[in-house]
Symmetry: C3
Subunit: 345 residues, 3 copies
Amino acid sequence: MPVRLAELAVRFGCELRGDAEAEVTGVATLQEAGPGALAFLANPRYRRHLAGTRATAVVLDPSMADECPVAALIHVNPYATYARIAALLYPVAAFGAGAHASATVERGAVVDATAWIGAGCFVGAGARIGARAYLGPGCVVLDGADVGAGTRLVARVTLCEGVRIGARCILHPGSVIGADGFGHAPDAGRYVKVPQLGAVVIGDDVEVGANSTIDRGAIGDTVIDDGVKIDNQVQIGHNVRIGAHTVIAGCVGISGSTTIGRRCMIGGMVGIAGHLDICDDVAVTGKTMIASSVHRPGMYSGTLHAQESRRFRRNAARFQKLDELAKRVRRLEGGGGAGGQDQDD
Amino acid sequence: MPVRLAELAVRFGCELRGDAEAEVTGVATLQEAGPGALAFLANPRYRRHLAGTRATAVVLDPSMADECPVAALIHVNPYATYARIAALLYPVAAFGAGAHASATVERGAVVDATAWIGAGCFVGAGARIGARAYLGPGCVVLDGADVGAGTRLVARVTLCEGVRIGARCILHPGSVIGADGFGHAPDAGRYVKVPQLGAVVIGDDVEVGANSTIDRGAIGDTVIDDGVKIDNQVQIGHNVRIGAHTVIAGCVGISGSTTIGRRCMIGGMVGIAGHLDICDDVAVTGKTMIASSVHRPGMYSGTLHAQESRRFRRNAARFQKLDELAKRVRRLEGGGGAGGQDQDD
Amino acid sequence: MPVRLAELAVRFGCELRGDAEAEVTGVATLQEAGPGALAFLANPRYRRHLAGTRATAVVLDPSMADECPVAALIHVNPYATYARIAALLYPVAAFGAGAHASATVERGAVVDATAWIGAGCFVGAGARIGARAYLGPGCVVLDGADVGAGTRLVARVTLCEGVRIGARCILHPGSVIGADGFGHAPDAGRYVKVPQLGAVVIGDDVEVGANSTIDRGAIGDTVIDDGVKIDNQVQIGHNVRIGAHTVIAGCVGISGSTTIGRRCMIGGMVGIAGHLDICDDVAVTGKTMIASSVHRPGMYSGTLHAQESRRFRRNAARFQKLDELAKRVRRLEGGGGAGGQDQDD
């Protein structure tokens, strides 16, 4: 589907420099683009590839427009603009309405006439599948779960009893929404299972990555607000609440009953303890452990970076005695004798 | 199903203060409870909500009973008592016996007449499904695997060849029991796959969370003892052995051939290296790395907590030279010249 | 299938000491082996079990052969030799060709006549399934995906649109190849999804563990070269490239656009940031964070190990002020006054 640059400029609010009648048919990186391809430049680290590009047009920032050797679609947010153009050039495949012959739709399920239920899917009693929703092969929607309009379960997604998914969400393969939270009451050296009676409520425009898991609440619901984006293999415990437009990178774990604010950015492999409050606009760098509540917006870190092992081990061995080292420094400063009080304890 | 407080007190061994004829029909938190609801107070952090509760009754500890503004079900273990009452009020849905029309049960499988095989399930040759076992939609039980009496595979669980699951277990969606362990022998710059010939043996009353994986043994079995509770996205390597009534929080990884004792508590995202012995009654806080055996019960930690990034990075930069810093302190103490021996190395 | 030691020695290039006519029928550990069993000794930590073994034969290194109380199959690489013998003694079960009655193969899929499509599988339009490929129960192969000759999808594997898997690969249950990468462009406090237009290309002889995920490229492909071995619950982001014969242990996360060299060994729970270059022959110990490119082969580490919690917390508290401590040492050394410049900053 070739599109004229003039049309892209108008549709997405870009300033256009170059041949308005030129057409693009697809996207490519600056280095690999050839005739007919649209490229973009958002990350300054790739600026060096601009001069040599053979793309038909490049989406970029006004500050870089003068360097562009080909047609330029200029926008203050080139990455978002690129994303919108790419979505136009590569539309999601259309799908028919109805159900594959191998799907099971239990009596009492309510499936909109415009939805598609894929091969081998199971839709339980009382489940509701909204308009234009799409269930790819092998999805399981247990009793009473609710899938909003235009939401897409790519394949092999599991929605447990009574979970509610908003509109225009995308759930990737292997994701499990609404399994029991981890609740076990100790009793005389054993554990008694605590029934997990809440649900999971997911807003609109949420994306959940492959093999991610979001547990149902113990009492009351686990809540994911509108526009939250969750990467692969993220684990979200029971009764967690995540504010709108927060993004969570891969392999993050969030323990039960923690509340995370809006517009947060949680880096990969971050761990967040339970029963905490994280305010709006908090960024956490990868692999950090958050063990207490965060009440001030900003960026937080907490993991050491790799060194050559031999060198790291020497430092780590010193860490194991860091408290003693600090006390030795205090003594050198004359701050205390053998039995003295260490002021900075 | 309304239940009288008198009946709850008798059945669960509570002291009752208040109207013995009052009935409860469900549970709620202290803050959200209304008439007909039972609440509980176990975590002192929620004590402040007791005075204002509108619950019909509260399960709590004797020490807090005097503060309870409504009927009190008093027990030294209010959380476990709450769990038992909740299980009574919200029984697991009954299920029929037999198999869904879309299920595949291979010739040579032995399925108890009281078990249920859900939609789209596969049960391989030689597999055994015990009395009152429940397989939700999309489960795969490969040849020769064994599911104990009353065990529940919620949905989309995979049991590989020959694994054995005890009685009354719960396996959540996406869990995979008995995939090959990670065994590859290096040989001239490549790897030769080491056949994984053992199985996985899981005891009674074990719970395995969503998308958790437990690998089969290389030679001999991987063993999970009775009453072990495993949260979501936990990875357990080949030939690991986990003692009875140990609990493992989400995203933990345990490398091959490690043995963990009984009644341990492993926090979220903990990593445990291979070929270790962890004794009984060890607690490990979240995100800790266990790299050597633990022979003494107690609590172990090893991860730094987040700071504001700017501040953390300064400290982390100092860590990279901590060994040198310690040597400088030693020199200040007069313990050695430039070429001197550092006593605390 | 009993095999004579003489045959094993010839077939696998071992020196044989002992009864060439003796037969083995299976494998066992040194401690548990009885008559008819073959054991091996590769890890010196198990040398103490050699003297008492009741195995019929032991595969071991020349340096340990003199201590072997039973027949010895001597090879400089006993572990790889054991692996090859075990594969001979325990061949992978043969399978028929064709498709299970409950499988769905869409019009336009090309399935080799020697391949097997298991129960409940879905094979989309334009997908290609190669010779002797095996799809266990519940696999989903979306449109245009390609499965190479002799490749085995154990069960419940998902291949998304257009991914290409080489020959003789093994993909374990729950693995998801080709889900969308995590690409979202910020725009006025929200995010615009960036279409993920590349594929995943996996070479020959690759193994992917249970519940691991490998995302499709944003533009261009994610590439896993020949012989790479990936353990369970590993997450590989979009446009990552992994060189041949690299091994990646469980729970590792690799962020987008990072390139990893050949013959690397990545320990469990390691996190690798995005847009990095890791050269060939790099080893990373478990739980390390790699936050910058690595240009020199060698071993890298970066995680602290557990201590008793009380002791660890004291050290961690000192870490939070490590920068100040270093400055105090500098002052003690006479390197600067209150306002002085700290030379080692």
